[in-house]
Amino acid sequence: MRVALFITCVNDTLYPETGRAVVRLLTRLGVDVDHPLGQTCCGQAHYNTGYRHQAEPLARHFADVFGAYDAIVTPSGSCAAMVRELYPRMGERARAEGRGDTLARTLAPVVPKTYELTEFLVDVLGVTDVGAYYPHTVTYHPTCHGLRGLGLGDRPRRLLEAVGGLELTELPGAEECCGFGGTFAVKNADVSAAMGTDKVMNAASTGASVLCAADNSCLMHISGTMTRLGVGMRPVHIAEILASTREEPSA
């Protein structure tokens, strides 16, 4: 199976350690991964801000880069949801606008093959115990696009529960949005900050030392809020926890 990593523009530029953790994890599980270097961005920010026409070339570029692989794995629920949910919609809209089937046909091959990391682990590889060791108290925030967009369900929790040394604590109001929402964080900064503060306070109330999520965009907002509020928790991407072992612990 030819598996390509889609590391997302945010991970690539700001959180490279997440990408390295995915490589370490999947390699340990015997998956031969490739990272096609032509990849850039799925177009989610453009699409969700109302620039569908600007998102189309990005989607086409994505399909060009990844089309030939058997599976595309990404450590981001929202980017996976973009490809799986919204690429078909983009194709339909192009057709409705009388631009024919070209876009739909170009994008179709990557849609069913794109997986969020925890989905790939549980559904495709069939593992929940990835042999990880992470001796910390962790609370898990299920991000909106992972939870409601992709329907990840309890997959991330099952993976976390199987991690050696890890103690999972319940996050109050877990299913509530953290307030990031892409450009929402800037366009509606007051509401975004209020939501972020509530999320951080709920996380702090669990007594966990680590807040974990499967999307660095949300973590960026949560982490920035934590630092500003002086809450001493560590925001960590789930890939880094799953990659961590006794021999090679994640920081």
């Binding site: 590391i7 523009c9 690539d12 530029t13 700001l14 959180y15 490279p16 350690e17 990408g19 390295r20 490589v23 370490r24 390699t27 340990r28 991964v33 990272h35 270097l37 990849q39 850039t40 920010a45 453009h46 699409y47 969700n48 801000t49 109302g50 620039y51 569908r52 600007q54 070339p57 990005l58 570029h61 409705a96 909106c144 939870l147 409601r148 967009g149 509530e176 949005c177 990031f180 929402g181 892409g182 450009t183 929402f184 964080a185 800037v186 509606n188 900064a189 007051d190 509401v191 975004s192 900050a193 209020a194 939501m195 972020g196 960026m220 982490s223 920035g224 809020t225 630092t227 500003r228």
Partner: protein, 496 residues
């Protein structure tokens, strides 16, 4: 001032004040979290909820697709049952019709059952201008009216008020509208309810004209349906001699059988009740029982235009249950007034910019009043994909495009104030389809990382006002992958 929303500030500005109002936030948080939990329980009781939701969606879609036919059927049925049907293209026409009908009775006051359609068109103000006083009789609407306020929730229009505030309003305002509040009124719910009951009873017994909306209109028999909790609506519907109902055309359902679905999904979604306490149904007029004259004003006011939009028309499926408001994290912090409309929350964010167009600041900002978290879509009993419509309307605001206004296709220009964003999106799109440019930018950012400020000017200021920025790493993932050949030449990063 109540009911009219002219010159509303754009959403972020209006929300700013709400976010910093501690009382308002506490009131809202308490009310929405309670109802949210109860609704989830009420829905979980039904094993066939998913099927009911799908059925509701199908019924509404089918009706909307054939609305012309069903409206004609409704009109003949209402007429045959002794009612009179009036068609109103917009708010002005609807107000003119209702004002004329009230004047013809010679009356100077009307009692009203809670109606969002009449709020939407500003009927109370229009009646007042014609020298007619309209009395709201729904408890929450009464509070809003006495407080010279605007509704902030679909179902609980006074959700932004707490008991203390309500007592103060009753004490100081009831006398100006009729029977004053009892002496020594406290803020216990029973006393407040009793004060309202006494005040309203006077109105019910005197009123000759009632004005209502309706939750549903059954086309096959011309029956109107009002679903409520207090019974005040039933008083307005049965006691007056003349009843005037103002209803949006999208409230039509084809048959009585369809009510089977909505009478299950509506109460559970809205008040978390298995069945609402009062369901009133009336068909035209009946000798010796109820109003002598019945008028139905069918309101368009932007609905046909909305119907013309293939993506946006699903908003017309809405049965106004308010479940989407109660789960919306943005509504919970911003409050209903920030939405600048009688339809607040997620549904308001997609309905108002369609009914009114995206010309004003508030309407152009509403599609952005969401993180697209999807909670609204998940609870909606008629499966309106609110996030999908939000993004669709963002596109309309940011890029312009074809819309139908007043029955004519026009091509909108992008809204003001989006030029910089558009340029940035274009530039980002260019860079992102040219991986080399991205790499160069990342290298530059990494090299200058020590000089990055922690507080940004311009649009970035909104981020750094409350949050730290992440620090840019020394090396991007792509650069690492290339340098180490996918981790094979780097003992630390990977172990292949």
């Amino acid at each position: 001032m109540s009911g009219t929303f002219v010159g509303m500030p754009a959403f972020p500005k209006a929300a700013h004040d709400a976010v910093h109002n501690a009382t308002l936030r506490a009131n809202l948080r308490h009310a929405t979290t309670t109802i949210r939990r109860k609704r989830a329980d009420a829905v979980a009781e039904l094993s066939d909820w998913a099927a009911l939701r799908e059925a509701g969606k199908q019924i509404k879609d089918h009706t909307l697709r054939n609305l012309d036919r069903y409206l004609e059927q409704l009109e003949s049925a209402v007429t045959a049952a002794g009612g009179t049907v009036h068609w109103a293209a917009d708010a002005d026409e609807a107000n003119r019709i209702v004002t004329g009908l009230v004047k013809a009775t010679g009356e100077k006051e009307v009692v009203k059952v809670k109606s969002m359609a009449t709020q939407e068109i500003g009927l109370n103000e229009a009646l007042e201008a014609a020298g007619i006083r309209a009395y709201e009789t729904d408890l929450a609407e009464l509070i809003v009216q006495l407080g010279d306020d605007r509704p902030s929730h679909i179902l609980v229009p006074a959700i932004h008020r707490n008991r203390g505030e309500i007592r103060d309003i009753f004490r100081s305002e009831m006398m100006r509208w009729g029977r004053p509040a009892p002496d020594g009124l406290t803020d216990t719910p029973a006393e407040l309810a009793e004060a309202a009951r006494l005040h309203l009873r006077e109105k019910f017994l005197r009123a000759k004209v009632g004005v209502s909306g309706a939750n549903f209109m059954v086309a096959e028999t011309g029956t109107l349906v009002v679903v409520e909790s207090e019974g005040n609506g039933r008083m307005c519907l049965t006691l007056p001699e003349t009843l005037i109902s103002v209803v949006g055309i999208e409230k039509t359902v084809p048959t009585w059988r369809d009510m089977e679905v909505f009478l299950q999904t509506l109460p559970r979604s809205s008040t978390a009740e298995r069945m609402n306490p009062y369901t009133s149904m009336w068909t035209g007029t009946t000798d010796g029982d109820g109003p002598r004259a019945f008028h139905l004003v069918l309101l368009d006011n932007g609905r046909t235009d909305t119907l013309a939009d293939a993506v946006g028309r699903q908003a017309l499926r809405c049965i106004r249950c308010s479940a989407c408001l109660n789960v919306c994290p943005v509504y919970e912090r911003a409050g209903g007034h920030a939405y600048g409309s009688v339809y607040p929350g997620p549904i308001g964010a997609i309905l108002s910019p369609q009914l009114r167009g995206t010309g004003s600041d508030i309407d152009a900002s509403l599609p952005y009043a969401s993180t697209l978290c999807g909670a609204c879509y998940e609870v909606c009993p008629v499966a309106i994909d609110i996030p999908e419509v939000l993004v669709h309307l963002r596109e309309r605001v940011a890029q312009g495009g074809p819309v139908t206004r007043a029955g004519t296709k026009v091509v909108l220009k992008p809204a003001r104030g989006h030029a910089a964003e558009r340029a940035a999106m274009r530039a980002a799109r260019w860079a992102l389809t040219h991986p080399g440019a991205v790499r160069a930018g990342q290298r530059l950012a990494a090299r200058t990382r020590r000089f990055h400020p922690s507080r940004l000017p311009g649009p970035g200021k909104a981020w750094t006002a409350t949050r730290e920025l992440p620090t840019v790493p020394r090396e991007s993932f792509g650069a690492w992958w290339k340098r180490t050949d996918g981790g094979t030449r780097d003992g630390k990063g990977g172990s292949r």
